[in-house]
Symmetry: none
Subunit: 219 residues, 4 copies
DNA sequence: GATGAATGAGGATTCATTCAT
DNA sequence: GATGAATGAATCCTCATTCAT
């Protein structure tokens, strides 16, 4: 579909130069169409961005609900949340990066809506962490700091992982589950223990090839 | 000095809306001067940004060299690096955020120079982590992922900490040292053990009051 | 075509006030379009100027090659060169004036290219004059001074001739051929003797009516 | 005097880039003073230009009256006018060029005044030529064209002559008198015949060294 | 569906000039 | 005499967007 091409080109440009620094003509040129035609498919520059961000956040939210529905154990839940989150960020790094960084570019209505989605998502983590700490599964000194550090760490994957790099996604997921287990002070949870998870989903907005490599890209 | 006022207003705006989305007139208005007067003090919009970023990165670099010069033990070095880094990010969150996020906005010459500074800084962490792993002080499964996760986590402080919030800087530093110890698999290092560190330095570009609270700001 | 309207308005303004003193908004107003629309057709202010100058110089060069190809006699060649040159300057005085005066306004790349065209053109005169002096057709005391004086005199036509004035172009051409014959010390060459010449070409950039009369305009 | 330094720097810049394209700061830098200080000596940018042009035109006018007062013979008068004019243009090429080209830059009041001076000057030529033609000393086909061609040719000296070039001024003067004699159809007038003339005067506005060589500069 | 043309608003930057020091 | 600071107006140019074709 044409809209997806547009979103992909947009994600690539937004991730590289930022939303505000990307022109609508530039975007059109990247897709190979006239900038006026963009409006036929995408409505406006801001709608392009909100489309990208909304589907990313909704997918995150859906995955998180899935991940926490299998087991009620906070340790399992956190492991599965992290594995899912890292999987999505690693498979869709540019989309995830844009979603994380460009919320500030939105004007009021969309801004609030998407902030809401993001908060809903993060509160799932918060709730699991809180319950894990309360039940003694986790050993934490400060809940809030742990949660924030953990989320930043996981979001960061989008800044340096590229699907065509050294590690495959599963390895990164494993590593991050291990790191998070250490962070919350619980024994490591193996891939088998945490149970089956659906494979991460490739978002429609994620460009497929020719990644502009981050400075920290896997060699 | 007038240049510092400009830098502070710029940091506030750049942190909030991004460099590209901030107009030069808007910046002038924030300082209370005509936009033309900005050029008398600051040369250009890009020079404002590079000035901010350069002094931040140089301070980070200086602190890191300081922090690693006291002891040759990787554990102590890492603890001190993290404490220093978190201290600077927490005391100068907006400057740190801008420095981290707006490198992409720079044109070639400055871009390369500042990328160089950032790489120098990160390689100090890389070297310490590598040595810690090799000497058995740390217990790591993947060096590179650990380093990247750790740095993202620490940089993230600038995204949510505000000096006027619930926690004081020392507490955040302590927490992060603890988290990092867990991450690298070594026993916790107390504040006393890690030795004296100079108090974090307030950068000239960091605005003092009226923080635009992040969405995750301390309640 | 719209580009030609723009060039014509530009020539009028550039001839009157100079390139540097003419604003892009002013030019837009003269064409009756928004200044932004100019960029749709013309690319940039400098491109407007180079377009005008290039087509003028190329036409001069073409005409000069034509004029010298009919006869190998330096006297005939010079007479035909002058007749052609004066014809073009008289039919396109504003374009010729701008072409002559605004080379200095160009930045390096275009500057060099157009200087090159002009030098090519003038060296045709130089070669004919040199040969005429060597073969005894002309009687000159100083070749270089004669060439420079002659060219300035002919270029000057653009400064005072206006197509709607007292004399028609043919008369001016006749006069200048006579003056040049005197200058180089050879017997007058009549219009018939010098052979047929194509009628001077109206350049696309030459505005058609409403000449801003020069101070020396025909009464 | 400081004003003369300013005028000289101004003439150099105006001749090279044009009045409109020359900035007041640039001019200050060329003199080695702050742009604000210029206003102490020179009043305004336009006053700098009018000062230069007025003294040049007044000197031309004075010289022309001198040149025509010795003899009543149109041939002698024209020869002396040309010798004087070429002398001034050759000794002060940049000032003469600026005076000739930048009249259009002036706003109404000064504009009219200087146009008046220039017309007064040119009408001296016109009167002599007319009388020479009427009395049979000259043999002209068209008075006006001859006058215009002659003046353009003589003014052109400022475009290519540089005092540090191959020919000294006297030679150029001799050459131009010869050329003009040919143009008006009278026998050559030798330097001795035309009588003594005061040496050309170096104008206060003429910069002394480091001429920016024209493309046609003497090799 | 697709686009060239069109524009008002705004982008960063430079302008000539004034004035308090 | 000299200048740094200051500014409103203007510079060229690009912006996102609309609309007739």
């Amino acid at each position: 579909m044409r809209l997806e091409e547009i979103q992909q080109a947009a994600v690539r440009l937004f991730a590289q130069k930022g939303y505000a620094a990307t022109g609508i003509r530039e975007l059109g040129r990247a897709v190979g169409i006239n900038s006026a035609t963009l409006y036929h498919y995408a409505g406006s520059k801001e709608e392009v961005l909100t489309g990208i961000m909304r589907s990313c956040l909704e997918q995150l939210l859906r995955s998180a609900l899935d991940a926490t529905s299998t087991s009620a154990d906070p340790g399992m839940q956190l492991a599965r949340l992290v594995r899912t989150h890292v999987g999505l960020c690693a498979l869709n790094p540019l989309t995830a990066k844009v979603t994380d960084q460009e919320i500030r570019a939105l004007r009021s209505h969309d801004h609030e809506a998407l902030i809401g989605l993001r908060d809903d998502y993060e509160s799932i983590f918060a709730e699991v962490i809180e319950r894990g700490a309360r039940t003694g599964v986790f050993h934490l000194t400060d809940l809030r700091i742990t949660r924030l550090a953990l989320l930043e760490m996981c979001n960061g994957v989008a800044n340096w992982y590229r699907p065509d790099g050294r590690l495959d996604i599963t390895e990164v997921q494993d590593q991050f589950v291990e790191l998070v287990c250490r962070l919350v002070g619980m024994p490591p949870v193996s891939r088998e223990e945490s149970g089956e998870l659906p494979a991460p989903i490739q978002l429609a907005s994620e460009p497929i090839t020719d990644y502009p490599h981050g400075t920290e890209a896997a060699e």
